[in-house]
């Protein structure tokens, strides 16, 4: 179908954008539009005002400082995927982005936009969770930081207020010693995940796992961390029994009901399989992982 009629705004500054946002009860932010426009074509979303933030120059840049990668709300997924400087400090980002839809979608879609859309099966919310990232949200009353674990509430629902705009995504750089992996299972390449996992592990010199971060998408109403599985790995040398135990512990987080793609039982099986593979890959990439 065709999108419904809306009022179109194209602000030049964040201040102008938040003021338009404050004036409208049902506005939507248009960045890349790769999630918003399909929902409008389907008439699932029917905003009366569209705020196109593509002409706010300050949002189109990303930078890396000592501790974090700061990604403006208009930075396209493809730019981050191809960035060697981002890859150098956080290789998991490229590996995750390669699973996000297809190249033509990533050329337009933004990192912040995917997080704001918060599809339960989307990959980037799991990336933000596993990396302990956050977003910066602006409203007419100022800016605030929302941590990943507070942002994602439910399928396509975030803790963002109606008058707020995500202006920045902040992802802490990965430790040099860390190992990483992103794996997912989909029916077709580029589809939303039946189940996906993101893993970051770090080991002490004698091979003891001292940092364990695991997140998953596609298995419930939102992307989640898997603390029970993380806890199994912490403080241990990772042999096949421990990795198996962790991947079994992940199963309890599968809450999605049976759908056309998978039954709950099948999703649990898929999750534990890819989780165990991802832990093995992360371990092999980590310094001291196989001491």
């Amino acid at each position: 179908m065709k999108p419904p009629i809306f009022e179109y705004f194209r602000p030049k500054s964040i201040e102008e954008a938040v003021s338009v946002r404050a004036d409208h009860d049902y506005s939507a932010i248009l960045a890349g539009g790769q999630s918003l426009i399909p929902t409008m074509n389907f008439r699932i979303a029917n905003p009366t005002a569209i705020i196109d933030i593509s002409r706010i120059d300050s949002l189109a840049e990303y930078r890396i400082d000592d501790s974090q990668i700061v990604i403006g709300a208009m930075v396209r997924q493809r730019d981050i995927e191809l960035s060697d400087s981002v890859y150098k400090v956080h290789p998991l980002i490229r590996e995750t982005l390669e699973h996000v839809a297809h190249v033509p979608i990533r050329c337009r879609g933004t990192v912040a936009g995917s997080l704001a859309h918060a599809d339960a099966a989307a990959e980037l919310p799991a990336l933000l969770l596993v990396s302990n990232g956050c977003v910066v949200a602006h409203s007419a009353s100022g800016a605030r930081i929302i941590d990943a674990n507070e942002l994602f509430q439910f399928h396509m629902t975030t803790s963002l207020a109606d008058n707020e705009i995500i202006t920045e995504v902040r992802i802490p750089v990965m430790h040099d010693d860390a190992g990483w992996a992103f794996l997912e299972f989909t029916r077709r390449h580029g589809d939303y995940a039946v189940a996906g996992v993101a893993v970051i592990l770090r080991f002490s010199e004698d091979g003891i796992c001292e940092e364990s971060s695991i997140a998953s998408c596609g298995i419930g109403s939102r992307a989640v961390r898997l603390p029970e599985a993380e806890a199994v790995l912490l403080g241990k040398k990772l042999d096949s029994n421990i990795i198996n135990e962790a991947s079994q512990a992940g199963k309890e987080y599968v809450s999605a009901a049976d759908d056309t793609h998978a039954t709950t039982e099948f999703r649990q099986h898929v999750l534990s399989t890819i989780l165990s593979r991802a832990i093995n890959i992360a371990k092999s990439r980590a310094r001291y992982g196989s001491e």
Binding site: M1, K2, P3, P4, I5, F6, E7, Y8, R10, L30, G33, Q34, I37, P38, N41, F42, I50, D52, S54, R78, A101, H102, V103, P104, I105, C107, R108, R188, H189, G190
Partner: protein
């Protein structure tokens, strides 16, 4: 534009003010007034009369409407025409020369019989051209690599094998690799 303008099939409404857009389409500067809800795909077809860009699923899955915006492949059904204001757009009509000689990728499609009904072909061509150009041919041209490159486009005649062959042969011609 080479083709005559086709009458837009969108009714104009007084509560839907028009916005001026300027863009360069296939090298030609154009200015039009459009409703903000007009999708770029419909703008290209109905306002500019360039009907080579096809509309399949209208929600970003099939890839038939793929065009190149500022050097990168994009779904024109997931872009409003107003967003492309100030951009350079290339559609499938830009590939062949004015004298009718085909782009190397089109030649390869023809020789490899890489199209059957042809509905999906413009989207495949623009998606492949942009990815080859973006990487200057430095892209994985194994069968697996090409299938990833093609993964954003659906062919309902399922003639993928010949499309893979055509991409390999076109990349050789365009970049003299392998």
């Amino acid at each position: 534009m080479k083709k005559s303008q086709i009458r837009p099939d969108y009714p104009e409404r007084s509560d839907d003010p028009l916005h001026e857009v300027n863009m360069e389409v296939n090298g030609e500067l154009i200015t039009r007034n459009v409703s903000p809800r007009i999708l770029l795909a419909d703008f290209i077809r109905h306002h500019l009369g360039l009907t080579g860009t096809h509309v399949g699923c209208e929600h970003g899955v099939c890839g038939c409407c793929t065009v190149i915006i500022d050097g990168r492949a994009a779904r024109s059904c997931l872009t409003f025409a107003v967003q492309a204001d100030g951009s350079k757009i290339r559609t499938v009509e830009s590939l062949a020369q004015d004298d009718g000689s085909l782009h190397p990728l089109q030649e390869a499609f023809k020789e490899s019989h890489a199209l059957q009904c042809g509905f999906c072909t413009p989207g495949f061509l623009m998606s492949i051209v942009s990815q080859l150009e973006e990487t200057e041919g430095e892209i994985d041209l194994s069968e697996d690599g090409i299938r990833v490159m093609l993964s954003g486009n659906l062919c309902r005649c399922t003639g993928y094998q010949n499309i893979v062959k055509a991409v390999q042969s076109a990349a050789k011609r365009m970049y003299k690799t392998n």
